[in-house]
């Protein structure tokens, strides 16, 4: 029966020898017959594991190992032979990428080198307070300082610009705090 040959063709001798001669279906990376085969848009065949590892090696420059065409995870087609019992998309087989691998440097890299606070949250909070201090002293609590300059003078305009600037800094920091 057809189903018998299909299920049995991995172990049997004659089939195996033709398989090794047939480099048509060998993965372009491990040079073995492709397991969990995928084909790129440019037509090159790989094991999904092999291609995945290559894409992880150069995340910023994902090119086909054979022809250098652009390539991506979403643009490869899984191949299901007749004998394959597993019809699952090979791209789902690998463990999912470690979470937050891409986001991490952004969150940690904001203010490197500051020693206070033991966690990321404490650190950003401590820094976040800094512009508020300036914010407050510029706008409200200026007792002891000379009164505001008359409207229209150069100094007044300068202060307007300055306060707008600090307002924006404060707004950006609030947004940043909320998002962080």
């Amino acid at each position: 029966m057809a189903s018998d040959t299909a299920s049995g063709d991995k172990g049997s001798g004659p089939n195996e020898s033709t398989e090794t001669d047939n480099s048509m279906f060998e993965c372009n990376i491990c040079l073995d017959s492709a397991r969990d085969a995928v084909v790129s848009m440019c037509g090159h065949l790989f094991c999904w594991q092999c291609l995945h590892q290559w894409l992880e090696t150069r995340p910023n420059r994902q090119t086909c190992p054979v022809c250098k065409a652009g390539i991506s995870k979403d643009k490869v087609v899984p191949i299901y032979g007749r004998g394959s019992t597993d019809q699952k998309d090979p791209r789902e087989k690998l463990p999912p990428r470690p979470q937050g691998q891409r986001a991490e440097p952004e969150a940690q890299g904001g203010f490197p080198g500051f020693g206070f606070g033991d966690g990321g949250f404490h650190m950003s909070f401590g820094i976040g307070a800094f512009p508020f201090g300036i914010f407050a002293s510029t706008f409200n609590f200026n007792d002891g300082r000379p009164g505001p300059p008359p409207a229209g003078s150069a100094q007044h305009q300068e202060e307007q610009v300055l306060s707008k600037f600090f307002l924006w800094v404060a707004v950006i920091f609030i947004i940043w705090l909320l998002l962080a």
């Binding site: 372009n28 990376i29 491990c30 040079l31 073995d32 290559w54 090696t57």
Partner: protein, 151 residues
């Protein structure tokens, strides 16, 4: 990992079975250590290196073929070529930036043979003296500035 050794054995098998012209793998060196190959290279006929014999060393890391092999000329005849330093280091982009896991020992050897064959004047790179004094032992650690390919 085992996958690296498996691939190296496959490459060796193919190279032994159908070696490209002028390329011979030193089987003895490999039988000692599969991660370090000695390859004999003949200067191509009709090129400036006709009749010369060279030796290349390939060193493979555990992440080969995702990581490129370390390749350099060794022995007492280092080809005099604008992309080959007198310490054997080779300035060839496929050995670093343009490496791809679909390349192999064979394709690297062929690239080097063709690099030699297209040479029109035997001379060392202009920065040879300073490079040889300051470079790392491992050519892969060099931040290569790739010369034009018109040599």
């Amino acid at each position: 990992m085992a996958s690296m050794e498996k691939r190296l054995h496959k490459e060796l098998q193919a190279l032994t079975k159908e070696p490209p012209r002028g390329v011979h793998v030193d089987q003895e060196s490999i039988s000692r250590n599969i991660t370090e190959w000695l390859v004999h290279l003949d200067g191509a006929e009709g090129s400036l290196y006709n009749g010369e014999k060279f030796q290349l060393v390939f060193k493979f890391s555990q992440s080969y073929p995702f990581d490129s092999p370390q390749v350099m000329f060794v022995g007492n005849n280092i080809p005099v070529h604008p992309h080959v330093y007198s310490n054997g280091h080779i300035c060839l982009s496929i050995l670093t930036d343009d490496w791809s896991p679909a390349l192999s020992v064979t394709s690297v050897c062929l690239s080097i043979v063709s690099m030699l064959s297209s040479c029109t004047e035997k001379k060392r790179p202009p920065d040879n003296a300073i490079y040889v004094k300051t470079c790392s032992k491992n050519p892969k650690k060099t931040r290569w500035y790739y010369h034009d390919d018109d040599v």
